[in-house]
């Protein structure tokens, strides 16, 4: 008896939940509203079946429940009824399948006037490439990837030199322009998903996959990775900004071409040494850092990271947040670095400075720290040496008190909250996995035991 009542209540409850729940499609921002239509059609067909079957079930359970003297009817089969049900079911299935295939027919045929853009995925970042003036992409190959050529483009392919590189997780697209999205992965499977666009597709190393869409609503949309790609999967985010065409063109024109990035002169550490003189007051003559002045060690830190942080300080993505006293201080000094060349030289100088094991100032449970650090090692390396490919700076032999403070900053929203600071945002997401002060101390205490030098030396060979 109770089960019959409960079945009815579950049907009613499910319907109420369906209509009252606050969770439904995000407002669509692409041409694929027909996909939403097929979902809604499927809801109608399956909803009717769900209600009909379960209410009938409930009625049957109630009506034919055991009572004294009641006997079941011997009723082995009823061909007519079975055929009738089969036919009705087949019609219902066809009613869902046909529109679905019709829309799929549109999806598999990319319009001829579609622009092209390449999405490049890697653990756990997004980059993008536009074909440049010639409208064609240069050849790419995963084995060509180096710190100087992170996109792995073939320098000998003339089609590639005008390719425009977006070395950031933010992509811009012009509104109302159909675009064929070519998808390439450097390492493992990923999936390019913008929920508001509805369509999504995996990135598969070794092949180029694709999909197409027309962004229809200007705005800013998050990119999520939706194919499990390792520990950092949940933090592999990016952004698509859909803008009017003129705005898009301006943005695109300011980006470097592959040719331009290859033509950059090598950084000059000697010139950097001269520039560094100003910094020594706080960071120390050999970049050893000074806790009394809240100045972290810089010696041995990877050049790409120092450059990125200088940029962030200069344009306010870092240090501008209320509560970041020391960051604000650094902003004033960073402004003194005149241009990119200076920043590159300065960073090259610092990377070359020796970084012996510093005095430990943080104590914690090293064994527990080791277990926690297994997560961090995925990006920062097993010896805390830092891995450029993952945008993860060196941690070992750096100032431990500074690591603690930055982890706290990440957790408390002091760092990594600026809309343009994707890498900081990602680190803030990971930092949340350290759920208390003790965990921070433990993991930093373990980092104090690491020795990055052998790894660094091996990598250089």
């Amino acid at each position: 008896m109770a089960i019959a009542v409960v079945l009815v209540l579950l049907v009613i409850g499910s319907l109420i939940f369906h209509f009252a729940s606050p969770w439904w499609f995000t407002p669509i921002a692409s041409n694929w509203s027909t996909m939403d239509d097929t979902v809604i059609l499927t809801f109608w067909v399956t909803g009717v079946v769900f209600i009909a079957v379960n209410l009938f079930l409930a009625w049957v359970v109630w009506k034919y429940r055991h009572r004294k003297g009641h006997k079941a009817k011997y009723d082995p089969e009823n061909k007519k009824l079975e055929w009738w049900l089969t036919i009705v079911t087949s019609i219902g299935v066809a009613a869902m399948l046909a529109p679905g295939l019709f829309v799929w027919g549109k999806f598999v045929n990319v319009p001829e006037d579609a622009a092209i853009v390449e999405v490049v995925g890697q653990q756990w970042h997004w980059n993008f490439r536009f074909p440049g003036d010639d409208g064609e992409f240069g050849h790419s190959d995963a084995t060509l990837i180096t710190p100087e050529n992170p996109f792995g483009l073939d320098p000998d392919d003339p089609r590639g030199s005008d390719d425009v590189l977006v070395a950031s997780p933010e992509l811009r697209l012009p509104v109302d322009q159909p675009v064929k999205v070519l998808l390439r992965s450097k390492d493992v499977l990923h999936n390019f998903t913008v929920t508001q666009f509805r369509v999504k597709m995996d990135l598969v190393p070794g092949m180029i996959t694709h999909m197409w869409l027309t962004p229809t609503v200007p705005g800013s949309y998050e990119i999520l990775c939706e194919e499990l790609c390792g520990m950092g999967h949940f933090a592999m985010r990016g952004r698509v900004v859909v803008t009017p065409r003129e705005e898009f063109e301006t943005w695109l024109a300011a980006l470097p071409t592959f040719g331009a990035t290859q033509a950059l002169a090598a950084a000059d550490p000697a010139a950097g040494a001269g520039l560094y003189a100003v910094c020594t007051a706080c960071h120390g003559a050999s970049g050893e850092g000074n806790p009394a002045l809240n100045a972290p060690r810089l010696a041995g830190q990877q050049a790409w990271y120092i450059r990125r942080q200088l940029d962030a300080f200069r344009d306010g993505r870092r240090g501008a947040k209320e509560g970041d006293v020391y960051g604000a201080q650094m902003r004033a000094f960073a402004a003194m670095v005149q241009d990119d060349t200076s920043a590159r030289n300065l960073a090259a100088h610092l990377e070359g400075l020796a970084a012996p094991q510093p005095q430990a100032t943080v104590a914690g449970d090293v064994d527990r720290g080791r277990r926690l650090y297994a997560n961090c090692a995925n990006c920062h390396g097993h010896q805390g040496e830092g891995i450029w490919a993952l945008n993860a700076p060196r941690l070992a032999h750096m100032s431990d008190w500074y690591l603690v403070r930055q982890l706290q900053n990440f957790q408390h929203g002091v760092r990594g909250t600026d809309a343009g600071d994707y890498y900081g945002w990602q680190m803030a997401t990971f930092a949340d996995a350290l759920k208390d002060e003790r965990s921070i101390n433990d993991v930093v205490a373990y980092i104090n035991t690491l020795d990055p030098e052998p790894v660094r030396t091996a990598r250089k060979d």
């Binding site: 009723d75 450097k186 490919a389 965990s439």
Partner: protein, 584 residues
């Protein structure tokens, strides 16, 4: 089919005397069934605990420092693989298959009892190897239960060293165990049925297990070869599934392999695997419904053909798991069509279950409650499958919580409800005792309502776009605060359901001693296992004489008959016999 004399051998093939021969190194299918079931349920409890840990993280992401990202991915991987392979497949085939096939077919034992015994011990070895990966450097693999390369064997994924190798080795061992058991089940069904037990008189439980085993024998080899190939990729540096790539800024020495090849092989196994779990559940629930409704199964022949049709079709739908994998999008047309066609025989089964209850005499026993609960959850899970099978509809929903909700309803909750119902149903035959009815009902309500509270909201989170396999959602602009609130609520429901399993285990264990003695056929069922001379059935099952079958398995409430059931081994009586006429 011509009768084969193998079942008639009076002398048992094996004749145990010592305790070890009887209960440990045993060749008796009933003992092996219990061994299989205990190990499967044990390892399933491990997977249940893992899911609880995951839910703690998802519901309360800032509170439990014992779940870090690496562990979270290890937990989802092990939870999924254990539940699908080491619990459900092992329990339905190794457990129920072993127990029911000889008893329901009127055989003395499996045809190859020694191999049957080995099957269990090899399965145990597979479980040990699997669990060993929790204790090796780097821990178990966190590649997701689908184990997709390249990430499964590359740094960045937890357990990419030893963990994944142990997983692959364990799967290989499991498949060896399954093959030894599976050949037994198929051969026993085909060759060792007692006199009169034609194929079209077999109970649907046997049909479901039989066809599922055939699916397994055809599908597991695809997993077996892919496990070997990935092991070679991970250890010897071959490149079956590994293209040239750049991992962590370094270029490993791989070139020319195809990650998609693995996905095709995996799902060529993986989709039939869904039915390896579902078909035994379909069969068993049919028998529970018929027995407790005192009514013949409606449309028996259609039910058998539906099982065969679903089994056959299950081999041509695999790529519906790969609509967004980057395979040629034109495949979508074919696989969406085959997938939606499979809905037709599946729907017929649902109709026939409900029509079996129609005009029945429904005893709302605990097994019956689970069977009715199954119909509800399976209808729900089956219908959401129509979303995901239809390629266009799948695109927005793929890789979201809609998928998580769907597959848990259809191949998590539904088969598990049948498992529980079946255990309650056959427990008196297995142990000679009855469980506590009140605890059984509490267990049912907590499980049935609790699981719906877990999975219904997940579908809607998926429509909103909440991605699956996220350790933490963090700040995602399009997700309102209510998503985090409902995640906490789901976690609480999950903990309640997990607690209800404790009630179930308590009931099953304590009733071994305290349960009332059960009559040999407490449900007044028609099938042969209830007609054994001893309860619990003794070694050899049938005493001196094998049973002889005279009618189909569903002669309930035959007009004119004195009782509302006629066991299969009761000779035809011209006054009211209807059982052989329609279905001989």
């Amino acid at each position: 089919m011509a009768y084969v004399a193998i079942a008639d051998r009076d002398a048992p093939i094996h004749d145990p005397h010592t305790f070890i021969e009887k209960y440990i190194w045993s060749q008796d299918h009933k003992v092996i069934a219990i061994q299989y079931s205990i190990v499967a349920i044990f390892v399933g409890l491990v997977a249940l605990v893992l899911s609880g840990l995951m839910r703690l993280q998802l519901g309360f992401p800032d509170s439990f420092h014992f779940v870090d990202p690496n562990q979270y991915y290890q937990f989802i991987t092990m939870h999924g693989m254990i539940m699908v392979i080491y619990l459900l497949t092992a329990l339905f085939l190794g457990g129920f298959g072993n127990f029911l096939i000889p008893l329901m077919c009127g055989s003395r034992d499996m045809v190859f009892p020694y191999m049957n015994m080995l099957s269990f011990w090899v399965y145990l070895l597979a479980v040990i190897v699997l669990l060993a990966s929790f204790f090796v450097q780097g821990g178990p693999t966190g590649a997701g239960w689908t184990l997709y390369p390249p990430q499964a064997v590359l740094p960045g994924t937890p357990g990419a060293g030893l963990g994944i190798i142990l997983m692959l080795v364990s799967l290989g061992i499991f498949i060896v165990a399954f093959t030894m058991g599976g050949l037994n089940y198929v051969t026993t069904v085909l060759q060792a049925r007692c006199r009169g037990m034609t194929l079209m008189r077999m109970p649907l439980s046997v049909w479901g297990i039989f066809v599922a085993t055939i699916l397994g024998l055809l599908a597991f080899p695809a997993l077996f070869v892919s496990a070997i190939m990935m092991t070679l990729d991970g250890t010897l540096g071959t490149s079956f599934f590994m293209p040239a790539l750049s991992s962590m800024g370094q270029a490993p020495e791989h070139d020319g392999g195809s990650p998609l090849l693995f996905q095709h092989l995996f799902w060529f196994f993986g989709h039939p695997e869904v039915y390896i779990v579902a078909l035994p559940a379909f069969g068993i629930v049919s028998d529970l419904l018929a027995t407790h409704a005192r009514k013949n199964i409606f449309g028996y022949r259609m039910m058998v053909w539906a099982i065969l049709a679903i089994g056959g079709l299950s081999f041509v739908v695999w790529a519906h798991h790969m609509y967004v994998s980057g395979m040629n999008p034109y495949f979508g047309f074919f696989f969406a069509t085959t997938t939606l066609i499979i809905a037709v025989p599946t729907a017929i089964k649902v109709y026939n279950w409900v029509l079996t209850l129609w005009k029945g005499d429904i005893h709302l026993t605990v097994p019956m409650l689970f069977a009715i609960g199954f119909i509800f959850t399976f209808v729900h899970g089956g219908l959401t499958g129509l979303f995901l099978g239809n390629v266009t509809v799948d695109l927005p929903l793929s890789d979201t919580y809609f998928v998580v909700g769907h597959f848990h309803m259809v191949m998590g909750v539904s088969p598990v409800l049948v498992v529980f119902g079946a255990i309650y149903h056959w427990y008196p035959k297995l142990t000679g005792r009855m469980w506590d009815d009140r605890l059984g009902r509490i267990h049912f309500w907590l499980t049935f309502l609790g699981t719906y509270a877990i999975y219904l909201p997940m579908h809607y989170l998926g429509i909103l776009g909440v991605p699956r396999r996220y350790y933490a959602l963090g700040e995602t602009e399009f997700l309102p605060q209510s998503v985090h609130t409902v995640n906490a609520a789901i976690t609480i429901a999950a903990l309640v359901v997990a607690a209800s399993v404790v009630i179930f285990l308590y009931n099953m264990i304590v009733s071994l001693w305290r349960g009332e003695k059960s009559p040999p056929n407490p449900w007044k069922a028609t099938t042969l296992e209830w007609q054994t001379p001893d309860t619990p059935a003794k070694h050899g099952n049938w005493g001196p004489r094998l049973p002889e079958v005279h009618r189909w398995a569903y002669d309930y409430s035959v007009p004119g008959a004195p009782d509302d059931f006629i066991p299969q081994n009761v000779p035809v009586d011209s006054r009211y016999a209807t059982g052989t006429g329609h279905h001989g």
